[in-house]
């Protein structure tokens, strides 16, 4: 049995709201790209990849045909590796085991919808776009995120947002998914020091 919810956690998307939010994103993607023959969904590891699977399934159901799908690991494109003493690096993000990048379709000329869980500084997306272009030249790249928490450090904006959530830099957004965390929810975690 899971214990009671920690006092510093606030649920911002519940298990009931999550599917609705993701479904809305899928509809918006189809509305924005009517009849696009080369529409592809690419998730960013780890949780973006799981979200991409869900969105891809919904696109197939709503659009009535199969779209391309892939996932991307951006470890080798992070900007906090190359620069010594990089600033703006969140200390609790170590360099985990690199997962496979899998893009089983022709990137050239495709409209790629990148999917990630949280949009924050924009550095992950910058890295993902760089990575994508090493595989080919997409016709367009769009961005879908479950939560936009603000505090951008780069000129990047999402095309599809599940929930806009103004946050303080000290707060954390934790996206939990059935596939890897056993349940669906998005919580805001206030730092314990206040």
């Amino acid at each position: 049995m899971p214990g009671p919810r920690p006092a510093n956690e606030v649920v911002v998307l519940t298990a009931e709201q999550m599917p609705r939010t993701i479904t809305r994103i899928a509809h918006e993607i189809l509305e924005k790209n009517p009849g696009d023959a080369k529409l592809a969904v690419v998730g960013i590891h780890t949780r973006g990849a799981f979200l991409a699977v869900r969105i891809h399934k919904l696109l197939g159901e709503v659009g009535g045909r199969q779209y391309d799908k892939g996932d991307l690991d951006i470890s080798f494109y992070r900007d906090d590796v190359a620069a010594r003493g990089a600033v703006g690096v969140i200390p609790h993000t170590p360099h985990p085991v690199v997962k496979d990048t899998d893009l089983p379709f022709d990137i050239d000329g495709a409209t790629v919808v990148l999917v990630d869980d949280v949009l924050y500084t924009g550095r992950t997306i910058r890295a993902a776009v760089d990575a994508l272009f090493d595989y080919g030249r997409p016709a367009a790249v769009q961005l879908a995120v479950l939560v936009d928490r603000g505090h951008r450090e780069l000129p990047i904006r999402p095309d599809y947002v599940g929930k806009n959530l103004p946050t303080a830099p000290k707060e954390r957004i934790s996206v939990r998914l059935e596939e890897c965390d056993g349940k669906d929810e998005v919580v805001l975690v206030r730092s314990k020091e206040g």
Binding site: R47, R84, T93, H95, D117, V118, Y120, D130, D134
Partner: protein, 313 residues
């Protein structure tokens, strides 16, 4: 973060080794695509110091650094100030002026990498020091084994055959193979078997009678100068080949042959065995690139493992 050297297999825990092998695996797709390069180590400098001849190790380290977008600088003993008598310490101080992040070194003397490390802020990676260690060879051997025989190497029986006494590859491989649970048997002439090597947890044999028990046969190169008169290690290369040479007749189907190179056909390994598609020798060379990319990468970003939280930069 303090600098991290890789001088001996003793510098790595089992978890480190597995992380390196997993990281190497993740570089394989990069090596297969059109743009075989990632920007990971952009702006970093890797110096390759090779005080001894090398084809595979030096070329794969150089290419590995380039595939990671690092700048590389190669120095060889011939043609450098070493010929004028510059000491290793002074070479280290000189190179430090360029603020390298990593220095990869091969050196004829055991322990040279420690000396280098004490005189530079760069991380030092041992590409072979005397008869001491060759950890990156061991890691690529483990990678080839894992890619060809499955991830779990536990209980696999490996015979290491040849001049164990003079072999840094053997010393690193024994440690790495044991670390991943393999059973190691050493075979070779008594003159080439280090006294007391059983203390490393290996079985020692002096002939190939039990070779059929091996899953993997690791053949070490025999340097011609060992058979010269005065060296007293071998009566002749022909004698060695007759008693310890790995030939088709001595193998049973399914056994995988490995060799760190360079091979000497007809001495330690018969030509038909060396050319057989079943052996892992070409795969070992192939592994060198991905494994050395992983070593350079982990040396810079660190080995500490962790799962990604819901939030990344």
């Amino acid at each position: 973060m303090p600098k991290r050297d890789l001088i001996s297999m003793e510098d790595l825990s089992r978890a480190d080794v597995e992380l390196l092998l997993d990281t190497a695996e993740s570089f394989l797709p990069v090596l297969e695509r059109d743009i075989k390069k990632v920007p990971t180590l952009r702006g970093r400098t890797v110096v390759n110091l090779f005080w001894e001849a090398s084809t595979r190790t030096s070329s794969s380290f150089d290419l590995a650094a380039k595939r990671l977008s690092a700048d590389t600088l190669a120095l060889k003993a011939g043609g450098s100030a070493v010929e004028k008598g510059e000491t290793l310490k002074d070479t280290a101080i000189t190179l430090s002026a360029y603020s390298p992040d990593i220095i990869v070194m091969r050196h004829p003397s055991a322990g040279a990498c420690q000396t280098l490390s004490a005189n530079t802020e760069a991380s030092v990676i041992n590409a072979g020091d005397g008869k001491h260690q060759h950890p990156t060879q061991c890691l690529l051997d483990l990678f080839s084994l894992r890619q060809n025989l499955g991830r779990d190497l536990d209980g696999l029986k490996v015979f290491i055959i040849g001049d164990v006494l003079h072999s840094r590859v053997a010393r690193s491989d024994i440690m790495g193979f044991k670390m991943l649970g393999m059973e190691v048997t050493l075979v070779g002439p008594p003159t080439m078997m280090p006294r007391g090597i059983e203390a490393m947890g290996v079985t020692v044999e002096y002939d190939l009678a039990n070779l059929k028990d091996a899953d993997v046969i690791y053949v070490l190169g025999i340097q011609k100068e060992r058979a010269h008169s005065g060296a007293d290690f071998l009566p002749s290369l022909r004698e060695y080949s007759r008693l310890w040479g790995v030939s088709r007749a001595r193998l049973r189907p399914g056994q995988r042959v490995m060799h760190p190179g360079p091979i000497d056909r007809g001495v330690e390994i018969a030509a038909d065995v060396a050319d057989d598609d079943e052996n892992l020798i070409a795969h070992q060379v192939f592994s060198g690139l991905a494994v050395r990319m992983a070593i350079l990468y982990r040396t810079i970003v660190g080995y500490s493992d962790g799962t990604a939280s819901g939030e990344v930069v």
